[in-house]
Symmetry: C2
Subunit: 245 residues, 2 copies
DNA sequence: TAATACTTGACAGTGGGACTATGAAGATGT
DNA sequence: ACATCTTCATAGTCCCACTGTCAAGTATTA
């Protein structure tokens, strides 16, 4: 057992070193010799555990996605609200990248466009997120939450593309300190996208914007007119009054 | 001169072949021997023109960005409208990628995350676009077109990240036929983003949504009340009446 | 037409890094 | 103590980027 434990830490040390070096340089520029020195093992040991350099590369996302990603998907079916479910998906997606900077650099800058990566579990997890998002958007369109002419694919690209772009630029600038984390930008971001695609509730009729003075004058009139006042109470669904500030 | 012409076509043939092979496989998987066969020249000739394989790679964006990109920037200073200028920037950005699929695959999937690429003219052109966009957004916030609490960096990442994501996914799926080009998605896309960040005109007062029946009743009242009716004419700036459908 | 310079190609060779094969040294379990 | 399993060092293969050289065009000039 002590043997197994040591083997495990050895394997982990190799993967840690590899992740660091792959992310900082790049897969092609990194050499096995360099990784072996960083991990404190011989080159032969690396070939022992991972047949090839490429296998070592792909062992990394496989491991990390198993560890961190799956669990956050379990709650989704319990969120009935479409927008809430979308927020949860985005949250877990951001968490995945925010939890491990080296890993997100590796995935977003190098693996994402790699053909073999697309056949890994890690990519399948990302695809599941993408697919769930698409489902949410379609459901929102179907049930009237979103505008019927919204393009579900476009919306999804907005959601995922923006987040990826934020991470990619952060990495390319050498991961500087930020006053706002990407996680903290999620809600303002979602508000912009969602407010842009929500269906307008009152499709027919009139919309009136009144300043405070006019609003008071109108209030006087309504109070003095019993006919309209009673209507205001009976037809609540089709009439909304919102106060600003 | 005939010599110069032949040399030019030879050099171009090499770059064309290289672009195709780099984009379809990848820079690392492509071999000089393969490119030389595709271009119909000897390996030595490639080393004659481009010292190294990497130099050949970077000669490609240098050439293409010189050819196509610069001109579309010239019009920008003449567009006074902030949103129109943003649209023009996005348009030229999309055009760059839409004009040459091989090139956009190379840039977006391989070069974008490459350190050396960031020191090329091609990347400088992209940075100029990004910078102009940021300027537009800031100007829009400053002059009241956009909400004062909008995050300019976030907006820019939305604009560029979405477009890049759309192209990247199109490439990763093997560039299937689309019923809508990315160019055609630009205006719906911009409408979502911009409507999400435009400043609301009436910050104070009341907003009333009325169905048709109630609107008619209110119309009656307003017609019979000279005080409020005169107000409606004098205070036009702060009061808007929009008819839906 | 002859001489000169420049372009292209064939070929041989170097070097670096991924990967293999092998056997010795050490650690572990019984 | 013995067998087994892990780790390492060494030596060697293969592939591919890249260099150097020389010969064969091809173009330009005298």
């Amino acid at each position: 057992m002590a043997d197994r434990v040591r083997a495990k830490t050895r394997k982990d040390r190799i993967m840690d070193a590899a992740l660091r070096i792959f992310a900082e340089k790049s897969f092609q520029e990194a050499t096995i010799s360099e990784i072996s020195k960083e991990a404190g093992v011989s080159e032969a040991t690396i070939y022992e555990y991972f047949g090839t350099k490429e296998d070592l590369l792909f062992a990394i996302p496989e491991k990390i996605s198993n560890d961190t990603y799956e669990e956050s998907e379990a709650v989704l079916p319990f969120i009935k609200d479409v927008e809430g479910r979308m927020r949860a998906i985005m949250l877990s997606y951001i968490q995945l990248y925010e939890s491990n900077p080296h890993y997100s650099a590796l995935v977003l800058l190098q693996l994402m466009s790699n053909k073999r990566f697309r056949q890994t579990q890690a990519h399948a997890a990302i695809r599941r997120s993408a697919h769930s998002l698409l489902d949410c958007i379609r459901e929102g369109i179907a049930n009237g939450t979103f505008r019927p002419d919204a393009d579900a694919y476009l919306i999804r690209s907005m959601l995922m593309g923006t987040i990826e772009h934020l991470f990619i630029h952060w990495h390319m600038q050498g991961m500087p300190r930020r006053e706002k984390t990407i996680m903290e930008m999620l809600d303002p971001f979602l508000e912009i996208v969602l407010s842009g695609i929500r269906a307008k509730k009152e499709q027919q009729g009139l919309t009136l914007h009144l300043n405070l003075e006019d609003a008071r004058a109108l209030g006087q009139i309504l109070q003095n007119d019993p006919a309209l006042q009673s209507k205001a109470e009976s037809a609540d669904a089709s009439r909304t009054i919102k106060e600003r500030n």
